[in-house]
Amino acid sequence: MAKEYLGEFEELVLMMVAALQEDAYGAAIADEIETRLKREVNLSAVHVTLYRLEDKGYIRSKMGGETNERGGRRKRIYTITSAGLAILRTMRDARLEIWKMIPQFKMSGI
């Protein structure tokens, strides 16, 4: 799996999919990123990232049921796959390893 690599935004979206669970669809993810991270996101960027993650096999999708909002359009609900969870874990572990290498006094000495 040496070549597998997630970009920062990809990782963010993937975590959102995992976090939002049954409510993970394009607009919701974008809203969530905007509210939690105070960061302007472009809807189309979120969509493209979702499709790319799906291509890579980290998430899968199914169409949700009919709704009366959104002009009657259905949502595409994403769920994280075990490969997706695995790479999130690997990345978190790798980061933690590096955190541990940073001396504590430097952290407190800000």
């Binding site: 607009a27 790319r52 909002e69």
Partner: protein, 870 residues
């Protein structure tokens, strides 16, 4: 809620649905609408709409758009890399085949590219004039000896008459190149030029020849003004400013002053107009040479119609203009012919347009296409012949799930790759060869590397060739059934054989035609060059008779003769290598009034036959000193005797206008116009003072030409200090008459060599293939006692059959086309069978060498090598 009633812009949704993949459209729309509803609440309707539009447009990105028809689109792109990889491996593995394909195609493309550039240039002639569709050239049409003759020289008075009398005519100009030598003096610089043109003031507003200095609508209005080209101005003035300067021009002893009123940008190469300077007709008229004579057809007339006027309607009325102004009896009619057709379509047969240069240009285009086709034939033949070798690959690909179309795509990729490689190589070749090719065809051709049009054309042409050449092999190769191939059943090429053979027949047939043309053209060149010119061109020089030379002519002549430099000197109206004037209106005793035969006129003072080295058949040479009456004497040639039907020519009277010329002698026919044409009737008229322009000098054969020239130049300097010393050897000038046909010979030679090389390359490839596929058969034959000669014969016959067929099928066509070509010459060789036989021999020997070199090797090989591995 009121927000629910707010609708987003519908066109945005439509646009989104258009570019967005169907399976994604619904959720994207949903997400966008959800955001829109939120934005309406937070920002209000206007801003929400704007954000909606902007958000939607941002979906127009590769990550979304390229998801259209996902499975179909991505696979070929993904495989493309593989195809190119396999193609380059196949090419590298079979170096010889790749070489034959690429090299053959490169040669074909290079040849074709040069030809197409040439053809393109020819089509661009005089197409750059802004009003080209309204400009016409006036032609004359007259019934002569039962046939309608057309010619483009018209009277000077035609142009002003047309403007005055026909309202449809916006402007009309006369354009005359008299070709007389004029001496230019500007400060210290002296130059002799004969490349001037007399024209009317509107010339520069009618045609789009841009002026660097001066106003096109004002220059040439005054009689003593002139316009010079940039290049000529530089010759005269160097780096000094020429505009507004005064130049003096001397012609036949008279000197006039002109002001440079305009400087013309140098003429583009693609125009039939050719001049270094323009002088207004009003100048000639100001010195009293107003030409209103309707029978003097000495200028070209160009007419610009008013916008919207039709030339056909004008032609209906304009044809009678000569009858109206000249005599009532004349059958001469004027008609207008478009400027845009002047270069390529100026051939008339019995009064109706009949091709012209376009016929040659069409042949060139055809030649180019044929060159490409025969190179493509090599590709088709070699690929199908080698099908057996690729069949396993096709089988494996099919078994692992390749569709037929992806195999087709793969083979097309290969051929396009080869074509592009060849295209690139030939582009380099064309670039390198272009300067010498331009010299050969005497047209400065250029490659326009900066025009996107050129690159598009070059790329699409090569890609098209790749596709065209690759299509059939691709269809054929991809049609194999994997079961049969992988079981080891051989592919039967039996019914493909005839296609391959007929393509070879076409290739070699084309080569046969080209070789026949090379042989015929070279024979014709040799034949004409060895034609008896009828006069002695050795040691004969001519020089322009300048004004002061004419004044001191008799002393100059005496000096030349007494010093022993010359043995004979004659002053004439033109160099002996050029016709001077011709007429249909000579009268003689017993002339049929309906006879409109053309008779050449020439003027010489005395001793013409001695100077030129003509053979006197009857009577005597012109000799003013012994017979003062010879100022009205004339010599005629045999052709004239025949035309005029004189029994006893000496003493007959020939009337030209108001002058009676009495014949004093008959000379043997000699070439004065073109050595390719029949010798025309000629009358050499005696002394007519103001018509002389040239002095012919027969140098002493006893001295070297260097001594003679040295003496000549010092004597010239004695009588004329103003002109530079100028002389021409007649034999050199005579050779220039063959420049055109020699260029034709070189061009046909080059292109037939190309065609033969390409065809021979193809044959080489095919014969290698044939031997390869029959190597076991050869081994078995030898084991069973077959001789080397027997095996060679067997293999050769198979390969030579299509070549025999090509010779049989294409020789008649070659015969017909070359007979047609020869018809343009009066003095020509007769086509005979030996031409075809020698062409056939050339072709057969090329083919034999190609094939036998391969078969011999195969036949000599030890059968053990070919048979042991099974």
């Amino acid at each position: 809620m009121s927000h629910n009633n707010v609708r987003p812009p519908q066109w945005v949704l439509r646009f989104l649905r258009w570019f967005c993949p169907d399976h994604l459209a619904e959720e994207i729309e949903g997400d966008l609408l959800q955001r829109f509803a939120r934005d309406v609440k937070t920002f209000g309707e206007r801003k929400a709409r704007r954000r909606f539009t902007w958000n939607a447009i941002r979906f127009l990105r590769p990550g979304i758009v390229l998801r259209n028809k996902l499975s179909i689109q991505l696979t070929p792109f993904y495989m493309l890399g593989n195809y190119f990889k396999v193609a380059s491996r196949v090419m590298l593995r079979n170096r010889l085949y790749s070489f034959i394909n690429v090299f053959g195609l490169t040669l074909g493309l290079t040849g074709a590219c040069l030809l197409f550039l040439w053809v393109g240039r020819e089509f661009s002639y005089d197409q750059f004039h802004a009003d080209k569709d309204r400009i016409y050239k006036a032609w004359n049409r007259e019934v002569q000896n039962g046939e309608i003759q057309c010619w483009s020289k018209t009277p000077r008075v035609l142009a002003p008459t047309l403007v005055q009398e026909y309202p449809a005519v916006e402007s009309a100009v006369s354009y005359a190149r008299y070709g007389s030598s004029q001496l230019f003096t500007a400060g210290e610089t002296r130059l002799i030029k004969n490349t001037g043109v007399y024209t009317d003031a509107q010339f520069l507003t009618m045609f789009s020849f841009p002026l660097l200095k001066g106003d096109p609508s004002k220059v040439l209005r005054e009689p003593n003004t002139m316009v010079v080209t940039e290049q000529f101005a530089r010759q005269l003035f160097g780096d000094r400013e020429a505009f507004g300067e005064t130049i003096s021009i001397e012609e036949s002893g008279y000197t006039f002053q002109f002001t440079v009123a305009g400087i013309l940008k140098d003429l583009p190469p693609n125009t039939d107009f050719y001049f270094d300077y323009l002088i207004p007709f009003s100048f000639l008229e100001s010195i009293g040479e107003k030409d209103t004579y309707w029978k003097n057809n000495s200028v070209e007339t160009y007419v610009k119609l008013r916008t919207g006027e039709s030339a056909d309607q004008l032609n209906e009325v304009v044809k009678d203009v000569a009858k109206k102004h000249s005599d009532k009896e004349t059958t001469r009619e004027i008609f207008l012919y478009p400027l845009t057709k002047m270069h390529l379509y100026a051939g008339f047969e019995n009064g109706v347009p009949a091709g012209g240069r376009i016929q040659i240009i069409r042949m060139l285009g055809l030649l180019g296409i044929c060159l490409i086709v025969i190179a493509c034939v090599n590709f088709v033949n070699l690929s199908t012949a080698r099908a057996q070798r690729r069949s396993k690959e096709v089988g494996i690909r099919k078994v692992t799930g390749a569709y037929r179309y992806s195999l087709i795509l793969q083979f097309l990729c290969e051929s396009v790759l080869i074509a592009l490689g060849a295209g690139l190589l030939s582009l380099i070749l064309v670039y390198l060869l272009l300067p010498s090719f331009s010299t050969l065809i005497r047209q400065p051709l250029t490659l326009d590397f900066f025009s996107p049009y050129f690159w598009t054309m070059a790329f699409s042409l090569t890609a098209f060739i790749g596709l065209a050449a690759g299509l059939y092999p691709a269809l054929y190769l991809s049609s194999f059934r994997p079961v049969r191939i992988l079981k080891g059943v051989a592919i039967t090429t039996g019914n493909r054989g005839w296609l391959r053979q007929s393509l070879v027949v076409f290739q070699f047939g084309f080569a046969v035609m080209l070789i026949v043309s090379v042989i015929v053209v070279s024979k014709q060149v040799r034949y004409v060059q060895h034609r008896e010119a009828g006069y002695n061109r050795e040691h004969l020089v001519y020089q322009p008779a300048t004004g002061s030379l004419q004044k001191n002519y008799s002393s100059y002549r005496n000096d030349l003769l007494s010093s022993g430099t010359a043995t004979s000197v004659t002053m004439t109206s033109a160099p002996i290598t050029e016709p001077w004037s011709n007429t249909t209106s000579l009268q003689w005793n017993g002339k049929d009034p309906a006879d409109r035969s053309v008779v050449e006129r020439f003027i010489a003072d005395e001793a013409f036959s001695k100077t030129a080295g003509l053979t006197m058949l009857q009577g005597r040479d012109l000799d003013l000193q012994q017979f003062p009456s010879d100022s009205s004497g004339a010599l005629i040639n045999e052709a004239a005797v025949k035309l005029m039907g004189f029994k006893e020519p000496v003493g007959e009277i020939i009337v030209d206008g108001n002058t009676e010329w009495h014949v004093v002698g008959v000379v043997k026919d000699f070439v004065i116009t073109s050595p390719h044409q029949k010798i025309k009737p000629l009358v050499v008229m005696g002394c007519q003072k103001n018509m002389f322009s040239t002095i012919h000098i027969r140098l002493s054969a006893a001295r070297t030409s260097q001594e003679n020239l040295k003496a000549l130049s010092s004597m010239f300097a004695k009588y004329d200090q103003s002109h530079p010393f100028e002389y021409h050897f007649v034999d050199e000038v005579y050779q220039r008459k063959f420049d055109g046909i020699r260029a034709t010979l070189t061009i046909t030679g080059i292109f037939s060599a190309l065609a033969i090389t390409i065809a021979a390359l193809g044959l080489l490839g095919l014969s290698i293939y044939v031997i390869e596929s029959r190597v076991k058969e050869i081994g078995i034959r030898k084991v069973l006692g077959g001789s080397v000669a027997g095996v060679v014969k067997l293999l050769c016959m198979h390969s030579l059959k299509p070549i025999f067929l090509a010779i049989v099928l294409f020789s008649p066509m070659a015969w017909l086309s070359m007979s047609w070509w020869l018809q343009s010459f009066d003095y020509r060789i007769a086509m005979n069978v030996w031409v075809i036989v020698s062409a056939a021999t050339v072709i057969l020997s090329v083919a034999m060498v190609t094939i036998v070199s391969q078969t011999l090797r195969a036949a000599n090989a030890n059968p053990v090598h070919s048979l042991r591995n099974e």
